[in-house]
Symmetry: D3
Subunit: 227 residues, 6 copies
């Protein structure tokens, strides 16, 4: 599917305000609001706990052991963007570190999601530059082979089209197609609206069995209680 050696300069980004609001909802809520789809695989972990960000995706496709295209994608970053880096084959090398983070931050990037490794994680943590990655590795890379920028990529099992909203927090990374961002936000907001009430009931000792009226369907499915 991938084109190699091309940089698309003009992409249609999802609305930045919508992206920020989706970020505030968090990965789990957004994923539920889309109908329980859109998550990257759970091996994608944040390099430090507590970051929760979102933004339109700028994508980059890297060759194994080669981070040349990360310099190319830097130029395409607009403030608020999330960079999504995919690889043409599995690798855990350290494609990204302090200097690239400094550059990405200067361009206004909201964060990086990379299906590979990252290094200088102590510095990135102190810079508060959030990264979700498959690995942490000091191993450096060459700059010898072309990949692409702003082509659709598969990152950690999920298709990402440039401009899609990327939502990332301690639970992982979700991808919202640009044309579904607004609708997803509405569904997420509706979902959150009645969570407070549920939480209060459960905290007061009401059981989910009763709150969700599960006793009858459980019985019909054949559940047996034995004393």
């Amino acid at each position: 599917m991938h084109e190699i050696g091309v940089v698309y300069r003009n992409i249609r980004r999802a609305d930045g305000g919508v992206a920020i609001k989706l970020g505030a909802c968090g990965t789990a809520t957004v994923h539920e609001a889309m109908g329980r789809v859109g998550l990257m695989k759970p091996y994608m972990r944040p390099i430090y706990a507590g970051a929760q960000v979102a933004g339109p995706a700028v994508t980059v496709l890297l060759q194994p052991g080669d981070n040349w295209m990360l310099h190319v994608v830097a130029e395409q970053i607009q403030p608020g963007d999330m960079v999504v880096a995919a690889l043409t084959s599995d690798s855990t090398d350290g494609y990204f570190g302090e200097l690239l983070a400094t550059s990405f931050a200067a361009r206004g990037a909201a964060g990086l999601v990379i299906d590979g490794g990252v290094r200088d994680v102590r510095v990135l943590t102190s810079m508060k530059f959030p990264v979700w990655s498959k690995a942490i590795s000091a191993r450096g890379t060459v700059k010898a082979t072309l990949g692409s920028v702003n082509v659709p990529v598969v990152c950690a099992g999920m298709l990402v089209t440039p401009g899609d909203v990327i939502v990332a927090d301690d639970d992982g990374v979700a991808v919202v197609p640009a044309d579904r961002a607004q609708k997803t936000l509405e569904a997420a907001a509706a979902r959150e609206a009645n969570e407070g009430e549920k939480r209060a009931k459960l905290a007061a000792g009401v059981l989910g069995l009763d709150m969700y009226n599960m006793r009858e369907p459980l019985q019909m499915a054949g559940l047996k209680y034995i004393d």
Copy 2:
């Protein structure tokens, strides 16, 4: 081995006081005190560092991608219980999150051990609800297929019978059969009693080689020193 579709309401819990004292000993000591058995596999990790808890096991068997039975088990929780969730096949989905944690906490659960995934980990961390899991994942689950509650289960490679004492800390999770809890506690206490003295000696520079009288058995096994 598993029965599907049953909930045992009456289980014989290990003594709660003994459980709490075993928890104070920690996983490594308890495992040693049992004769070096009883540990779940080391892929079980806490969602945050520093929690150390113990309690009688209430068990639940889940089907892949389905968390219905977690609502059923909630009703069976008594204060101080540890919930142990096993799966009928490998999965990393997020079976448990903020709402269920609120409910479990309201029931007095000491924590959760799950051979699958968990989500809302930032909230669970701030709630101080400890979870040991195989994965962290935002992916939601359906409520369509029955499992069981309070049947013996295999969780992360270890058999757990309802009522067994579960001990969990940063080193992992140990399972103490209910009928061996008291004896294990005595062995653990004895083990701890002389650790202080050993620690002091080692801190003062005495070698384990001398403290444990290892030099002769090492020589008999054929160890050679070369200058």
Copy 3:
């Protein structure tokens, strides 16, 4: 390759002062300064974030499920040494814990790198005794079979000769052959010298594309921009 059942008492350690300076450079810089070689596999992770140490390697070869030789190696530790523990076959058991850490610390060890498991991680963290390991596991080990001390070992995919400099931080673990330590330090220092300037430029918004003069080689490699 391995000899079993021998302890070499006299090894040629890399210069301790050079080791400490290499430690200050960090794993990524040292690895780059050696020409992008010398890293252990990225599954080696610190038990707590933020430690950054270095020292000459004292090596120990362990048999699976057996930590006897860790007591033997303790006697060979000199202040500032890094202990490197390899295994004759893959294992995640907990070979090292509080008591051995107390002993190693009393001998002046700078830290431990082990291609296996470690336990008592909460105590080790509070002791500030840094460990890089493949796993965390409460599982104990026996003392029945000989390994060796101060033989060359392969640890996490990397050959370590006794006396080599081990550099470890949040990005992983690097190995610098003793006879290349001085030269590597010079290359690392040179590398760091001009990082500050680069960082400042990138922070000011200069692109790596321009700073590194990449535009022409990218064009020659065939990169196409599409509007």
Copy 4:
């Protein structure tokens, strides 16, 4: 749960004739007949294709890197038995090879299921001694530490009680509790009885959608067809 250092000589074996008939049904059918439970994890693979056997379980618990107890279990084998070897911690070493296979075969063992490694696989294949294992490895083991024989063990995620029926083929390994063997055989036979008719219909081009009357439940679940 495990006792260490004991050999139970008298176990209640499931009926051998029933076991052989269960073996003829195969792993998948037996697992379905039990209500879709009882399978070891799918990493257990046969060392050669085409073997399909079953028999009562004789169990052995091994320590990591130590195969001493395989000699102890040999004496407990009766003709038709399946030996099930579990380990106290994960390992891929080669615990079993040509000589032990010769001994097991002389005792009449039907095969071996081992949650570890095996070697001499070319010879075992030519001997037609079937083994299901987690790994193939030439690495040898010591004889230094006790385990147990004929205690309940967890092997590849499944509890095996001595005497249970073990069914193994190219699809994996199933465990049938001894007291459910007869009932499981009846359910398996019933299941097989109408498979032939189904197979004929499907081969003739009838769709499962129609044969199983799925169209209406699919529509009720909300499935939409789009031209």
Copy 5:
């Protein structure tokens, strides 16, 4: 990205004749002819050696532990199609076996590619129904939750759009977008045309160093020969 609960009946299939010719080229050649892209991850393995097939993709998205949609997709199969089954979360259960294979074969399917498990592999092998899968497992599945048919899916890391050509052999699985099938075939044929000559030269002892004129670029890259 995924829609849940829909079946697209009309898809634009790549030309069947072109697909068959791509199949004759094999996975490696096709992947090279596309510019070294388009491969599924290498964990996808054939259940038996020697099968080499190709055809337009009919896709199906399954929920974990649920194979309901495989019956739905059966109706959409046309002779020569390759069925590509993706999952909404990682699973190794046995979603496909003898009965479904009988049905798929009756519909004329060329084979199945599934990012999950398969069972009855001995029968499938004797039927010569080729399957590439992530796992072999006897574990059965339920029929409770909807997925989709003929939506774009990510299978083993690769985007598959319905109608794309799937090429599969002992080296793995390649995906050729329908609109690039003809061009890819031409490039693959050109590639094969001069392989015979190269093979003959190499077999005669000519070195690749000379045949590909590599000596000068190697020298320019700095390669040093040491006697």
Copy 6:
């Protein structure tokens, strides 16, 4: 440890006749004869069953995703050599296929051991060119970055010095240092000499417990028999 960009033309090969005899002993026997050391990790698997070869090692160090140096090493192959390919970071790409195999075979190579992927496995199998690899993958590689030839490498966890004897069969791969080859052969031959007698006794029903006089040491270790 690795030098990059060098080719050592003169290496001291272990005696070819000794290598061939070690090959006839097989991996397990050779590994035992060395004192139970020298094995690569068990993820190294043959691409087809039944090959058993040995020869002096010619080594090559590859960069990830780059097979340039395989053409360089081809020139250094002498009849009977085993090529050992290591990688500077983990990768499963297909570095080696039909054309290189044709060239290696023309040079007289006995086989290839590669800590990465291989392709064209059906053709390699029909050519009877044996390969032990970590993966099978159709994914191609570039020719852009230097590695080295005939430097010491770590392959699948084992140090290989050029000229060492490599022994490979269905059980895996063993490495015998050149200067220990003769002695290892003698130990292996001695080991084989009395295997026939042991095999005959065990086949006749003698137990290992008696043949190896294990009953007393088992009793002394505390083993208890329970009726």
